[in-house]
Symmetry: C2
Subunit: 258 residues, 2 copies
DNA sequence: CACCTTTATAGTCAACTTGACCATTAAGAG
DNA sequence: CTCTTAATGGTCAAGTTGACTATAAAGGTG
């Protein structure tokens, strides 16, 4: 591949900048571009994240976020979906519908000890799914409780922390929480998503009121109620509504006042 | 540069995936990585964006967002700050303090007709500054009114639209608006930022109440008031406060209810 | 100069939202 | 049957917001 001179900046080379004149391909080390995925789910009232175990150096034996290289003819978003489907297998059928959101791009020159790798990070939210397939071979993939994870490879600890912050913040002003729930869910499940991610207890009636009075957040279902965990009064079922943002938002209890 | 096999994914190659086994450098075209900047300011009550005119093909003569290649030993954020300082010149002194926020990364394989370029987009907010230096040579750089811009090169129209949406949304729940103001400003200037970006008129007393009762949004200044535009009663001056987020947020008038 | 326009600032009031509760219903566990 | 758990329905006070009125202090204009 020949990198042409002046890409976007040819004009600037006329203006006495301190960088090399023109665009010399040799002056710009090629970058590898990868995607990394922070896939969250709520299991048994605890936040889990999908991790894979590395089978090669560096960081052999370390847990890391799933991800991989962006291929020549695909976008980063396509790469993320592909890797996610390949990795979990479970998502193949719903990979087109899951919530996948670009977080940000990590480009520290030293983030990979071997080469220059720029990674586009994505956060994904999925309902409680069975264990990912595979795991019998060198690479294992499994759900790990968010609070009980060990150190991760590369800067994945940092990426995961950013993803967690982003997800927590987006619960406040978007309908994102429904992405953690199965297609049909009870309000208790939805509330548990908030409680799990935020790590706080929410008032049941107040939460219910807020969700039901926000137009488009959830959509009541016809059929008979079901029992969520067996205990307690059966709950009515809902589907995710058509709204995407919450106006006004559903703020964390912490966030109110200073 | 030799791209080593198995970067992050070596383990996965043992699991019968459909992708090429191992990591063949030839199979992965190297990517060029650039940054693109959507730099906003408010001038005379109108939103402006910093654009440069391309002096080379493709898109010669078209306006484009400033930006450039990420260099081998710098991160995308460093590249963005460098390009911004080089481009405007005016920001050299304050480039360390301006608000620069990573937007997202654009990686459509066809976004550049010549080669595979992945671009990390940033949004920057600056107070009203004089015209950018340069402009006498092939590349001109100038503030263009946001609503009066022509078509932009590459996918910059798309990037700019995303940046605009992001900035508008962040005004709601962050103290970002102060980044558009000079170090000392009147509440009228701050309100005008909201009105300009959102394109709506806000009630003066209500806006004032909201800003002043939000702890840490602004900090009252001692000295005597000044007149903003000459007309009207002199206004008290404030500095940006220490808070970064608004709880509860300052919602757009549109956003209330559906 | 009187008078108008403009902007800042102070304050009021009703509607709406939120947080903290209390009460009832309906299931499973023992 | 009784206890526990969770869903659901409701009240009430405090806080927030939107709409609006009023006053103050500057410049502009005749």
């Amino acid at each position: 591949m020949t990198v042409q001179r002046d890409h976007k900046w040819g004009a600037m080379t006329n203006r006495g900048r301190r960088e090399p004149r023109g665009y010399d391909p040799a002056a710009f080390e090629p970058f590898a571009v990868t995607v990394d995925l922070a896939v969250f789910t709520v299991r048994l009232g605890r936040l889990h994240v999908l991790l894979v175990e590395r089978g090669e150096e560096p960081y052999r034996g370390c847990w890391a976020l799933p991800g991989g290289f962006v291929r020549p003819r695909e976008s980063a978003g396509q790469a993320a979906r592909r890797e996610l489907a390949e990795e979990t297998g479970l998502l193949a059928r719903s990979a087109g519908a899951l919530h996948l959101e670009q977080l940000r791009t990590y480009s520290d020159p030293d983030r990979d000890p071997r080469m220059r790798v720029v990674s586009v990070a994505y956060a994904a939210l999925v309902p409680d799914l069975p264990e990912p397939r595979g795991g019998g071979d060198a690479a294992r993939a499994r759900w790990v409780e968010f609070g009980a994870r060990g150190p991760l490879a590369f800067d994945h600890e940092h990426i995961l922390a950013d993803a967690y912050d982003r997800v927590g913040a987006k619960l406040e002003y978007t309908c994102l929480a429904t992405a953690f729930c199965p297609p049909e869910f009870a309000l208790g499940e939805l509330r548990q998503v908030y409680e799990t991610v935020w790590g706080v207890a929410l008032d049941r009636p107040n939460f219910r009121r807020k969700v039901l009075t926000t137009p488009g957040f959830v959509q009541a279902l016809q059929g008979p109620p079901r029992r969520t965990g067996g205990r307690g009064k059966p709950a009515a079922l809902y589907r995710a509504g058509s709204a995407t943002t919450l106006h006004p938002p559903l703020l964390r209890p912490e966030g109110r006042k200073t």
